[in-house]
Symmetry: C2
Subunit: 253 residues, 2 copies
DNA sequence: TGAGTACAACGTACGCCGTACGGTGCACGC
DNA sequence: GCGTGCACCGTACGGCGTACGTTGTACTCA
């Protein structure tokens, strides 16, 4: 790792943590403490409540002391992200699982993770995290789909596509929660207040198709949507591999 | 619309715009100008560059004057969002299109929209937009899938799932662009700097499956991933409707 | 024509934010 | 026992969103 590399510091922090100092006074904190406290705060009060000042206060240190451990808030977020996908959470599924079950479990665990840490969806806008836990997660995924008759490149695409679906579904789910919370109302109240406007819109004749939809069109739960899309994807995979098996060999590496 | 409704103001702004004043001096600006300037700014320099001060400066007015038109920055973002999905952009596809083509075109146009206005992916974390253009968009979608033998509720799920896929894929795409830009490097440089760390990780034996992947595993383009997932979804839909048609009637409303 | 009034413009200020900088004092190697 | 390198962190700067209150304009009505 040459000093020329401008990402060296960030990557080192992710993969090796902070080097132990030898000379000076004992550090009051450990990097892991800061990261853990950050995750706690973001889980509890949302990403917008995670400020360096609040975090420092929570840890009982001065604000600027945090910068002895972490070069910037952005870097802290990267550490938080990689921590949160940590091994305790990866699907410890028995390795002998059919690919369909494996993909379904992966998706469901992903959903639980995003629901437990909603800030992850807003946070990683800054930089693709290539930390050890993320990489381990990808390794686990690739192991789980080893037997699928797809090329490695296609498997990679599958990983991305599955994650997109999970993120997108959870995002929808959180959107309504947040909106209601910000306006100091419950989900239902929020809907209720929107209803009159929508009803007037329906009656205006500008939306002929919407106006004719059945009553329960918008009653679906977020989980239902999630499962619906997951089934579509898995069916799509199934069909693709049937097609390949039918016409002979697979081109998996 | 009673005054009790705490969302009345927001909804009115979206659906009816600002009421014309009769008494006082002529307003210097129009609401649409502000919204358009906001979109311009966010398109050009990113959402983080869109501050009320900069926006006001761009428009040649004092900062606080903007609040004569828009109650808050959040509300402005909602207006921007609904504007950007405006009718000029909706697929003006001939109504007699097969469902598969229709869904594919919808997805592709969505992708173009998100790529043209990347900030939309970060912005609508505040409130689900139920503006006239968004509703019109949904109406158009529902018209396009009218013939599909799915229930209305399932069609709604399909709309959400498709959008999730599009958003997720574009998000991945933008992520790398942004990361590189923030570090003042190109995409390739960014990769290059990460490589040594990854190679060391591969050689560590901690990621046995990843270490064995073929060379081109990570060479896929974002567009390729997008198409891959889209095909999976559409194949999934195809299979589902085959299944239904095989066993008799559909339960569409 | 003059008074009253509603409303547009916007300067100032408050309390947040991330973080650059530099001083203070601790703990170890010599 | 002292020099040195580092931990801690107070202060300050330039941003942010926006609450509040003043000023001046353009209309209605007497």
């Amino acid at each position: 790792m040459s000093d020329q590399n401008p990402l060296a510091k960030s990557l080192q922090l992710l993969w090796e943590g902070l080097p132990e100092p030898e000379k000076g006074p004992k550090p009051k904190l450990r990097l892991e403490q800061i990261v853990a406290a950050g995750i706690d705060l973001a889980d509890a009060d949302g990403l917008e409540a995670l400020s360096m000042r609040r975090l420092a206060e929570k840890l009982g240190v001065g604000t600027m002391s945090l910068y002895r451990y972490v070069p910037s808030k952005n870097e802290l977020l990267n550490l938080m992200l990689d921590t949160v996908v940590g091994p305790s959470h990866t699907r410890m599924t028995s390795p002998r699982l059919g690919w369909r079950e494996f993909l379904a479990i992966t998706a469901h665990e992903g959903r639980q993770l995003y629901l437990a840490h909603p800030w992850t969806l807003q946070a990683n806008w800054s930089r693709p995290v290539l930390g050890p836990n993320s990489v381990a997660d990808l390794d686990l995924f690739m192991t789980g789909v080893k037997e699928l008759p797809l090329s490695d490149r296609e498997k990679m695409n599958l990983a991305t596509v599955l994650d997109s679906h999970v993120m997108g579904a959870v995002r929808q789910e959180l959107l309504w929660q947040k909106a209601a919370a910000e306006s100091d109302m419950t989900d239902e109240e929020f809907w209720t207040y929107q209803l009159p406007t929508l009803e007037r819109a329906m009656e205006s004749g500008r939306f002929p198709t919407l106006a004719q939809l059945s009553e329960d069109t918008f009653d679906g739960t977020n989980e239902e949507t999630f499962e619906f899309g997951l089934d579509l994807l898995l069916d799509g995979v199934e069909e693709e591999i049937q097609r390949r098996l039918a016409q002979g060999g697979a081109d998996s590496a």
